[in-house]
Amino acid sequence: MAVTTQARRGSPLDVLRRFAQRLPVHVALIFFALLWSIPTIALLLSSFREPGDVVTSGWWNAITHPLDLSLSNYEDVLNTRDMDRAFINSLIITVPSTFFVVLVAAFAAYAFAWMQFPGRNALFIVMVGLLVVPLQMTLIPVLRLYTDLTIDVDMPILGGRVFGTNSYIGIWMAHAAYGLPFAIYLLRNFFGSLPRDILESAYIDGASDAGIFFRLIIPLSMPAIAALTIFQFLWVWNDLLVSLILLGDPELAPMTLKVSSLVSSFGTQYQLLTAAAFISMALPLVIFFALQRYFVQGILAGSVKG
């Protein structure tokens, strides 16, 4: 009988053995994770360096000379280049757009998932098709529509440009519309996967369609809604093309537009660009870290075993 070094589960030898088996995995994973993070780290570090340093020496030097860091780039970019205004603009554009998309898509997805009506399948198929339509196909007519339909209202607080080019409502609606195919597709699939019995039970219990929607479907779909919200938020926040075309006024420009114009004006002044870029990234990164758990978590076991 051969003697085997079979380590018992949980014993130090066993732990070490399993770690050794996994070592290549660990190495590979950590290597890639670092590799992937380097560009972002480079940006971050550079943004804190003195203008002179950035263009003369590699950013890695910053690690060895931590005391040469400064916030001057940020001051410059925020105060003189209007990045602060751009930040607020990005917020104003993104938050309502995200909200509208999720709301409108949820309503429609509910109908697609759980109601019968003539043409349901055909309509959904058309929508699935719309998923892939490139924005370019739609922008010229939409721009024209907006220029024709520009509405200005002369009112104290709510006044100003109500609709059309350079209007907030205009851009909200555009972003909401562009986000719909994906949102409806995602939510409809999720809603459809909810156990039918739960909905039937609620129906027998006396819930109306709206009741089922708000009391059951939405609470049970939070992971999908969270995921959608993140996607949509990032999508709108990071959008360039739509703002470029529908929003010409620099006062209203979101950060993407701002950074883009900085690049074309100051192509090699990396100290400015890195700071500006980082500001535009800050919020998405925060949101990503905060909500990531949501969409990694998934739905927990419900009323049915397994």
């Binding site: 660990h26 370019q136 010229i140 890195t274």
Partner: protein
């Protein structure tokens, strides 16, 4: 359900339908019409009604095919580059994403590792462009990639301008250079795309991986299958619908690519893609008709994807 009024579903659908019609259906039709019109036709159908002379038939398409002004608007380069993006971008991102998903699933710090890869997705293409312009900077004292390259002994490359020593359809690099399909600068751009989207592929594939019941894998292990065999014969087939989903999304991204190219190179040095060319033509040159035609070309490329996803969707429905 008994008792539901016939108009109820339509009420739930109406906001979406209105938005979709105004911003998607109507414009698509209109752009299509505009592609057959001449330069000053932003209004599409309406302009045509006002002034039927604007109709120029297939002129814009001919322009795209003939490429009469390659120095200003190189349509061939744009089309070719889009093709490159399609193949390389998708072809690299999916395996990379899958690799990460599989690797990360085996460690306890999975969530952290995945975040690191996923972060680039959170940033805008514009910010990414800044990051990578910085990375690709020619001067090895500034540009990280070239710094590494010079450390390793070779000369630094102008990643974003270099049309590549291999001879490509667009660059005559001299009689001694070999023909290669890829210009260095295009490749550099595509790499940035992969950097950004690998995280997406990873997250989706990771969710797909988790959906594979452990019992199936355990049964295979008990049967004596090795890890690689399990991967190839069990995991991949079960994942294939997910892979298709990821791949189709990436293909769409590749075709739509605008921001990245625009900010990094502005389409110069033959890195133009159809989307950037569209913008230049329509909004810088005022050639709305040509712009529309380019947009239609994009749509045409996308149609097969549309068909695939619709077919797949219908198949899924049957098995629901």
């Amino acid at each position: 359900m008994i008792g539901r009024r016939w108009w109820t579903p339509w009420i739930w659908l109406s906001p979406a339908l209105v938005l979709l019609t105004v911003f998607l259906f109507y414009p698509v039709v209109n752009t299509f019409v505009t592609s057959f019109m001449d330069a000053d036709s932003a209004g599409g159908i309406w302009d045509l009604i006002d002034d039927p002379d604007k109709f120029v038939g297939l002129d814009n398409y001919e322009f795209i095919i003939d490429n009469p002004r390659p120095l200003v608007s190189n349509t061939h380069a744009a089309l070719y580059n889009n093709g490159l993006w399609l193949i390389l971008f998708t072809g690299l991102t999916v395996p990379v994403g899958l690799l990460f998903a599989v690797l990360a699933a085996r460690v306890r710090y999975e969530a952290v590792a995945k975040s690191a890869i996923f972060i680039p997705m959170a940033i805008s293409f514009v910010a990414a462009s800044v990051i990578w312009r910085f990375m690709y900077e020619f001067n090895p004292d500034v540009g990280t990639v070239n710094a590494v390259k010079t450390e390793l002994g070779s000369a630094s490359t102008a990643w974003l301008q270099d049309r590549g020593s291999p001879q490509t359809p667009f660059v005559d690099a001299g009689p001694d250079s070999a023909w290669g399909p890829l210009q260095v600068n295009n490749f550099a751009l595509i790499l940035v795309g992969v950097w950004m989207w690998a995280g997406f592929a990873m997250v989706v594939l990771s969710a797909g991986l988790k959906g594979i019941s452990t019992e199936v894998l355990e049964a295979a292990r008990v049967d004596g299958a090795g890890e690689w065999y399990i991967f190839r014969r069990i995991i991949l087939p079960i994942l294939s619908p997910t892979i298709v989903v990821v791949a189709t999304t990436l293909v769409i991204q590749a075709l739509k690519k605008f921001d990245l190219v625009w900010v990094m190179t502005g389409g110069r040095a033959e890195t133009d893609v159809v989307a950037t060319l569209f913008f230049t033509e329509a909004f810088r040159q005022g050639e709305f008709g040509r712009g529309a035609a380019l947009a239609v070309v994009l749509l045409a490329w996308v149609v097969p994807i549309m068909v695939i996803s619709i077919r797949r969707f219908q198949f899924q429905e049957e098995t629901r």
